[in-house]
Symmetry: C2
Amino acid sequence: MHKLVDPDLALRLVLDATSELAPRPTALARALGLVLAAPVRADRDYPPFDRAAMDGLAVKVDDAGKAVRVRGEAAAGHEATGSVEPGLAVEVMTGAPCPPGTEAVVPREDLTANIQGFVLPSHVKPYQHIAGRGSECAAGAAVLAPGDVVTTIGVAVLASFGVAEVSVIPRPRVAVVVTGDEIVPAGKPVGPGQIRDSNGAMLSAMVAEADAELTSLRFAGDSPGALREALRGPPEAEVLLLTGGVSAGKYDLVPAALAEAGFELVFHKVQQKPGKPLLFGHRAGQLVFGLPGNPLSVHLGFTRYVLEALAKLRRRALPGPQRGELMAPLTVRGERTSFVLTQVRRNGSTLEVTPLVGRGSADVFASARARAYLRLEPGAHALPVGAPVEVTWAGAPVY
Amino acid sequence: MHKLVDPDLALRLVLDATSELAPRPTALARALGLVLAAPVRADRDYPPFDRAAMDGLAVKVDDAGKAVRVRGEAAAGHEATGSVEPGLAVEVMTGAPCPPGTEAVVPREDLTANIQGFVLPSHVKPYQHIAGRGSECAAGAAVLAPGDVVTTIGVAVLASFGVAEVSVIPRPRVAVVVTGDEIVPAGKPVGPGQIRDSNGAMLSAMVAEADAELTSLRFAGDSPGALREALRGPPEAEVLLLTGGVSAGKYDLVPAALAEAGFELVFHKVQQKPGKPLLFGHRAGQLVFGLPGNPLSVHLGFTRYVLEALAKLRRRALPGPQRGELMAPLTVRGERTSFVLTQVRRNGSTLEVTPLVGRGSADVFASARARAYLRLEPGAHALPVGAPVEVTWAGAPVY
């Protein structure tokens, strides 16, 4: 196991242990934004019949310039009540199947009426205003290929084809275990010396924001038995997140419990602030992150490592760093890489970045407005107002 | 009612008729990304007790440099089993409430052991390694203000405060009514002259992608009675989307049905391609969009108008235009403003934009890979490869 690695090595070790998920059949309604694992082919010709593209008359081409009588109509979704013959037209509505015998459609606005019926224009082109069967897409044509993302238009196409389930790289599943005897789940009374859960609520929100799937949220206290229970059995999730219990204290049970449960531990502790006591390992393809107990360490650990693993699991890119301008001076000195939470505001084309320098990694209260991280390497930094900086989104981008 | 307006006037008319939603109490688990309507204040001091910030001993300051005996421990989530007295220390764990009598915490690594117990360092500062009660946040302090977005860290803060419900500008509710006798809902057999629903499936996905709430998806055929039924009664949704039936054909029942149901119609038809026969109106604060029947018109209408209305309803910004570079020549000529769907690929810092010029607004198949729109004003355009262009996202941004 690596000890006290730098943040870039830590990320590399996480990604090295992460493989893309195997494709899974997924209901179309849940497939938006996922990556296709199999080609999508048209099940029949589109349109499936010669379709009128205008409201008007279905006619014979040789009737150009002549008067025709109208017998029957063809409305969308219905079979025509007449057929086209020389001198005899059928009224057609946009989207309707062309009646038998149709050679062209003449739009309503091109018609004039006289006592014998409707007079067609002097030129009528064969197939005009007809979307011919298969003209948009022939049966069997591959419309989408493996690797394509299912867009909203893709959903429309798949629905047209009658596809109810599609083979995609699925959303990763994430299970969360909150440790610590002092943590009280939402809705329960808080005793003396206790605090309400915030990490479980925050991680649930972060998993949702990442469009991953939360399978469970458990509270294990500081009980080795409860922890063992949570780690037992076939994995319900590809990613397991634990909070708390990863330092070196008397009741920091996570590293031993993970080793006992058969996880290979890859690294413990990262040269970063906040979130130094991060633990990472895996077991049979399941990734485990032992996040420290304080909320800002959990937030950084998720944003910087878990989110990257989730993206690789599902073959999805994350937004890259954004350039911005510092709105307040920032002085940071330390032996570890610092990830400073910042407020972010768009002002025209400028991204205004205001650092939120709290009183420590537990100071979650000052950070509730944070939208991005600013990274500073070990050493002394004194950045003036106006300094160009690069930030990484801490959640949804600010537009 | 305005007829055949230009796309910018159309958007202005939509936004003029759109007001921000009234705040609604929302479960914390559903509040992520929403805008707060009321300040969030700390329910008690944080930390709620003097909290040990390190593993070590709770001691008296005057015992600096002396040997102390250890009597009892204080673990996180539990009351201490002893109190600190001169010469007597209590073992403390990070996160534990400091035992009675604590004046400072000495970290484990600063202790040396001798036969009489543990020897403290020669200097021990009052309150060292103690997070004092209320030091992170005092009871009653406003941590978040109206207008702040609920971030994941905000969720952590609210959970800490025991907040189960929060007053926010809610997600807009959207109801969808698909018209057209030719449309068959998913899972039902398709008869001759019929096609499967794609607009209902696509709009459901678009509403989900916009993080709005779909309240219903109905199919009304071309029946005035079914349409009347769908428009009757108290609105279940702030936004009503209809597809089809907005042209001037014999079975285009939507404009009359809306007028009959008491909607004020604001405009009908927009000088744009695709999606010209767009209809917009409102009734008692409820917005209605009559989208044309073809999927690409629905997609543009939603992306350009509905999405903007949803953003204003919930006070949320949409991403602005992105600069890119054209990867294939584009020739467009028309009397209307053209919105051309494009594929988009990031290549380093360049956004590579490839237009998908289909054979008409019904050509949804070629567009399933589209990720953005390129706007071209009326007239003739011949853009070469490499031309700088601006695109607007058609759904999730491409990173």
